[in-house]
């Protein structure tokens, strides 16, 4: 394997698989040698996973979690991108609103759980609201900073060709910030996936977060706890990989090249 440069196609798969294999073997023997009664071995987890599939819970829980993230994230995108673009476009508004945003931003979405339950009750809406909150601020901030960082000559060129303000936003500002917005969306989606697990532990009775907490509480089924953790990791990886494909689109790829 070369330190730099393109890896061979087979190398891109073989090395990560090998690492995963080594990890599983180490895990297996750690459990064997310490003779722990609580922590499951990879085989226990595999059996737990099969049980989840048999009961139909695996698919059901993954879909529930994804749906919550999907709805909350979508709402954050729909509200966050326009808000961010406007705040970047009108620095006066940003001057007024930004301090509040910057103050709310460091509050962990998990700290909002009690408030969210007071407002929306224990249930689906409270969980979705948390995901919305978690993804909204990164999206707003990425869009706002994106607009602020647009080189002035793009705006000037747009105005020079006789574009109205609305046309300028659609034809120049939006495409110019898109790479930065995509980065913001990716970060937001990552956070949303972290938060859904926490939200499901408290506010609802389905989903992968619920699976973790429920397996522990009802009979200390640590094989299911770890199975749920692995599912959370794999689904998160799939989401991120899917999102990364957006960065490969030809009309945004310029934003991800260093040499431009």
């Amino acid at each position: 394997m070369r330190a730099m440069g393109q890896a061979q196609k087979w190398e891109r798969y073989i090395w990560p698989l090998l690492t995963a294999g080594v990890f599983l073997v180490l895990w297996h023997f750690s459990v064997k040698w310490t003779a722990t009664k609580v922590f499951p071995s990879p085989l226990d987890v595999e059996r737990g996973m099969a049980e989840l599939v048999r009961k139909g819970l695996l698919y059901h829980y993954v879909v529930d979690s994804l749906r919550r993230v999907g709805v909350g994230f979508f709402a954050a995108v729909v509200l966050g991108i326009p808000s961010g673009l406007l705040l970047g476009w009108y620095p006066g508004w940003a001057f007024v609103v930004n301090p509040v945003i910057q103050m709310l931003r460091p509050i962990s979405p998990i700290a909002w759980i009690p408030v969210s339950i007071v407002w929306f009750g224990v249930g689906e809406v409270a969980a979705i609201y948390l995901i919305f909150l978690a993804s909204f601020f990164p999206i707003v901030v990425a869009s706002m900073n994106g607009v602020r960082n647009i080189p002035s000559m793009y705006r000037r060129a747009g105005r020079n060709f006789g574009l109205s303000s609305a046309q300028l936003i659609v034809k120049v500002v939006f495409p110019a910030v898109l790479p930065q917005v995509i980065v913001g969306l990716r970060i937001a989606l990552g956070i949303a996936w972290l938060v859904v697990v926490a939200a499901e532990m408290i506010a609802v009775d389905s989903g992968l977060g619920y699976l973790v907490i429920d397996s522990r509480n009802s009979g200390k089924r640590y094989d299911l706890v770890v199975a749920a953790m692995i599912l959370i990791g794999l689904t998160g990886l799939a989401l991120d990989t899917g999102f990364r494909r957006l960065e490969k689109l030809r009309s945004v790829r310029w934003g991800f090249l260093n040499d431009f």
Binding site: M153, Y154, S251, R253, W254, D259, F260
Partner: protein, 266 residues
């Protein structure tokens, strides 16, 4: 003695062109951190229709500011610029500003960039115009390429083509070839002259490169250091294509070197 040469020639040739642009007493004062910086001081300038004028001056003297005022991107703190007897208040698609090649939109293809200003035309007309200007700047085969796949010189061609495609009367070029390597720069100058001769736009080009100004312009407007005033206007009375080792070329070049206060010995 050099002044004598300049004035004599200028008077002999005269200005037969119709006036396109008139700047009267343009002043520009920027407010920076509480203290005022005067950038332009009482600039009077006339540019004829179809003329190629270079604003020449040292870096940071305010010549770009002047061009931005002419283009309507900033308003002067005093004086007024008139184009076709109309006061300039904002940018106008009849007069296109060409930035260094960094002004091309990286999210659009070559075609998309060149067609950017043509949103009022029908699809068919737009396609025709784009094809025409792609040919004019020699970018056939790169229609679907994105700017990051092009060299600096090609990006500059895209920007010039984008400007020409809306058929403006005037082109403003702000050190357009400054970021290019010296060979590409020479090629681009020749290209610009070829296009200028084909399309006869009025061109105002800002540069700090003395040779560039003499190779391109009908008249070179020499600006002083800040606050910029017009120090001298030099008529370049050499027909195109210009022989850059002819005695007249060297005479004019040396005159400008001296005017700017540079000895031309390195």
């Amino acid at each position: 003695m050099i002044e004598a040469i300049f004035t004599e020639r200028a008077v002999k040739k005269g200005r037969a062109l119709k006036t396109k642009l008139r700047a009267e007493g343009v002043n520009m004062v920027f407010n920076g951190d509480g203290h005022k910086v005067q950038v332009l001081q009482h600039i009077d300038l006339e540019v004829g229709d179809g003329e190629f004028v270079c604003l020449l001056g040292p870096s940071g003297c305010g010549k770009s500011t002047m061009l931005n005022i002419i283009a309507g991107f900033i308003s002067p703190t005093g004086g007024q610029v008139w184009i076709d007897d109309e006061a300039v208040r904002c940018p106008d698609p009849r007069r296109i500003f060409v930035f260094q090649e960094r002004g091309v939109f990286p999210w659009l293809t070559v075609e998309g960039n060149i067609g950017f200003g043509l949103f009022r035309l029908s699809k068919q007309e737009r396609a025709q115009r784009i094809a025409h200007y792609i040919q004019l700047v020699g970018l056939q085969g790169f229609e679907k390429a994105y700017p990051q796949e092009l060299s600096g010189g090609m990006k500059q061609r895209v920007e010039v083509a984008r400007a020409l495609a809306v058929n403006p009367d005037m082109l403003f070029l702000d050190e357009p070839f400054g970021a290019l390597d010296s060979i590409t720069r020479l090629i681009m100058r020749r290209e610009l002259l070829r296009i200028w001769e084909a399309e006869r736009k009025t061109v105002i080009l800002v540069t700090h490169d003395i040779e560039e100004s003499i190779q391109l312009a009908d008249r070179v407007v020499i600006m002083s250091t800040r606050p910029a005033k017009i120090q001298q206007i030099v008529e370049i009375d050499i027909p195109h294509p210009r022989d850059i080792s002819s005695p007249r070329y060297l005479e004019l070049r040396d005159g400008i070197f001296e005017q700017i206060g540079l000895a031309h010995k390195v």
